[in-house]
């Protein structure tokens, strides 16, 4: 249908990475490495936890003392004080149950590994969410997205790499990144000084074996299902036109993947992110991490589609598809905010000390970052993408897309850093450098993955519907 009622030609397209794009990706990596190098050269290599000044230490001790008054969990307070003493950091003795970060001495290299963990985890979650996007389109029998399907497929090839990055960081520095690992190695039993009942009670799940083996098993399952979905998609290209067997199989594999993903993605979030603040827990944490990765994945899909469009590819993709991707970015920014606020609000209302530990340090020591999170991830996309024309404008979408990607990087940063280092950290050259380095590698990888197969799933049963997609006036 549409304009003048002529049939839209659906032809296969082959993408080759333009030299300019290669230069951009490699350049981003090199700039990232240089920035990270300067960052490493300028960080304080002597201290245990970064730039903590005398002033903030005192301030912090005061806050902690205030918190100690309402601390119901005396037991945890005792054990913490004892553990702190055990490591000879007297100034943290009064810290009480609210402080999750551990006073153990940490080598300065931890700063590098925490950055690799943050970016690796983000890229891993985002690439996996792109695979979930493909699965959702099959399950929902969606027609409009057939034309852009190869983009999330290409992004999803990156998730083992992102996973490996985070995994290496964990293997090397788990003792310094996760204080419960440090605690586990002490093999304390009940009654011994420094015994921590909370960590001991969680140890059936939160232990080094589970920590390393569970995610590897999960990633193997996801990878097999993802590979199957991608191979079905590419096999369809050379099938007889009108052959829906590949499509029907894809629906079954997608449903299987979605169920497994839905139940297991939270496990990785608990093990790798939530356990940084090991005494603390939040039942919505898995959904919160999914929300972050999902909106970032939609943004990255949109940016890659816009790039391919600007290079003259994806001829059947029109403003209508871009509009729908913009709606996704808009809608799931609100979804992220909803989940983010749900977690915060319940803890704020209940006012239970062991639940508040997570937010106390983030709200009192990282107030700027805490509020910046809402500005970048909610207010900017909400106010700007509300307008219809903004969702159809490549420039606006690119700007908001970059804000959202940085915003969700910043969100993951705020999940990790206060728990690992305590107060006094900021996003510096090392952080930006790591983001650029792995961002450049990610872009190069995805562009390269796009060249591996045709850009248009020409035999997809809904490709014609997608070519004629129209959201109306």
């Amino acid at each position: 249908m549409g304009h003048g009622h002529h049939k839209i030609e659906i032809a296969q397209e082959q993408f080759t990475v333009p030299a300019k794009a290669k230069r951009f990706a490699i350049g981003l990596t090199i700039i990232g490495l240089i920035l990270a190098g300067i960052g490493i050269a300028t960080i304080d290599k002597s201290g245990t936890h970064g730039h903590q000044t005398e002033a903030t230490k005192h301030e912090h001790a005061a806050t902690a003392a205030k918190g100690g008054e309402i601390a119901a969990n005396e037991h945890a307070a005792d054990s913490h004080a004892e553990t702190a003493e055990h490591h000879g950091n007297v100034e943290n003795k009064n810290f009480g149950p609210r402080a999750e970060f551990h006073a153990q001495s940490k080598p300065w290299t931890t700063r590098i590994w925490s950055n690799v963990l943050i970016v690796g985890y983000l890229l891993f979650m985002v690439s996996l969410a792109a695979l979930f996007f493909v699965a959702v389109q099959y399950i929902a029998n969606a027609g409009w997205s057939a034309a852009i399907k190869r983009v999330p497929e290409a992004i999803s090839t990156f998730f083992p790499v992102g996973f490996a990055l985070a995994f290496i960081a964990i293997l090397v520095a788990k003792n310094d990144l996760y204080h419960w690992v440090h605690y586990e190695h002490q093999h304390l039993t009940k009654g011994q000084p420094g015994f921590d009942a909370i960590l001991d009670g969680k140890s059936w799940f939160l232990n080094s074996k589970m920590f390393l083996i569970f995610p590897v098993v999960l990633v193997a399952i996801w990878w097999l299902l993802g590979r199957k979905l991608r191979s079905l998609s590419v096999a369809e290209d050379s099938a007889q036109p009108g052959d829906v067997t590949f499509f029907k199989k894809s629906i079954r594999y997608s449903a299987g993947f979605a169920v497994i993903y839905g139940f297991t993605i939270a496990v990785v979030a608990w093990l790798w992110m939530m356990s940084i603040d090991a005494h603390w827990f939040s039942t919505i944490f898995g959904v919160y991490n999914f929300a972050t990765s999902w909106v970032t994945a939609l943004t990255i899909i949109c940016l890659f589609v816009l790039y391919l469009k600007s290079q003259g590819h994806l001829k059947i993709v029109s403003d209508e598809h871009i509009h729908d991707l913009g709606k996704f970015m808009f809608a799931f920014s609100i979804f992220w905010t909803y989940i983010w606020l749900s977690q915060y609000l319940l803890i704020w209302y209940a006012h239970i000390p062991e639940e508040m530990s997570y937010y106390q340090i983030r709200f009192e020591e990282y107030k700027f970052n805490f509020l910046l999170n809402v500005v970048l991830n909610f207010i900017c996309p909400f106010l700007i993408l509300m307008m219809r024309n903004a969702k159809r404008n490549p420039v606006v979408l690119t700007v908001i897309g970059c804000i959202l990607i940085f915003g969700h990087y910043h969100d993951v940063w705020l999940m990790v850093v206060p728990g690992v280092y305590g107060p006094g950290q900021q996003i510096g050259l090392l952080e930006i450098g790591t983001l650029f380095t792995f961002g450049g590698i990610f872009i190069y990888w995805v562009l390269n993955a796009l060249t591996k197969r045709g850009l248009v799933p020409v035999n997809h049963p809904y490709i014609e519907e997608s070519a004629n997609h129209d959201v109306g006036v």
Binding site: M1, G2, H3, G4, H5, L341, Y344, L345, W348, Y349, H351, M386, R388, N468, D470, G472, V473
Partner: protein
């Protein structure tokens, strides 16, 4: 422009030509042809949304999204004023020593009130504008337009070549052609 669209009223039209379709694609084709021939289409009635029809007919973008925004702002402001008056000015209550001014507990109320006013405002405006409110009798050109038939209505008058209109309709798959004068319809 009144809040109820007078242009949608069929009662005052003196004479109209109606074409009835069974097939969506043919309907779109016919509409396109009529528009290209310079015929002014009164409206096309379909039991479900037909993609592309709005663009071919040159329908303007709806004001509904702007109405939604204004209703949302109204809801937000009313809720803000309500909470501020009740909770800060008139009767502050100390709940667990939480702050009364601009605290996170305001957020769900503001959110719900905004959504409520947006949803109801949009629904009411939509029905008002489309003459689907109490007291206005529904005017159907053909009862089957709510089920499985589609109707193109063309108003006749000065400068409308009736024969040409009927020919285009017939050539593009109209299963029935009718003429409406006042409240009386006759099959052609």
């Amino acid at each position: 422009m009144g809040i109820i669209d007078k242009n949608l009223s069929l009662r005052d039209r003196n004479k109209m030509l109606l074409g009835i379709w069974e097939d969506e694609d043919k309907l779109v084709e016919a509409t396109s042809e009529l528009v290209h021939a310079g015929v002014k289409i009164q409206d096309v009635y379909t039991p479900y949304p037909v993609h592309g029809l709005d663009r071919i007919m040159g329908v303007r973008r709806s004001w509904l999204s702007i109405v939604a925004f204004l209703c949302g702002m109204t809801g937000f402001s009313l809720a803000f004023w309500m909470i501020y008056y009740m909770y800060v000015q008139d009767w502050p209550i100390d709940v667990g020593n939480k702050p009364v001014r601009f605290s996170p507990s305001w957020v769900p109320v503001l959110f719900e009130a905004t959504v409520l006013c947006t949803a109801f405002g949009m629904a009411f405006f939509f029905f008002f504008r489309n003459r689907m409110i109490w007291g206005i009798k529904p005017e159907l050109l053909d009862e089957r337009q709510t089920d499985d038939r589609m109707v193109i209505a063309v108003e006749t008058g000065e400068g409308v070549d009736e024969k040409k209109v009927l020919k285009i309709m017939k050539d593009h798959g109209a299963v029935e052609l009718r003429e409406k004068t006042g409240g009386v319809q006759t099959t052609i």
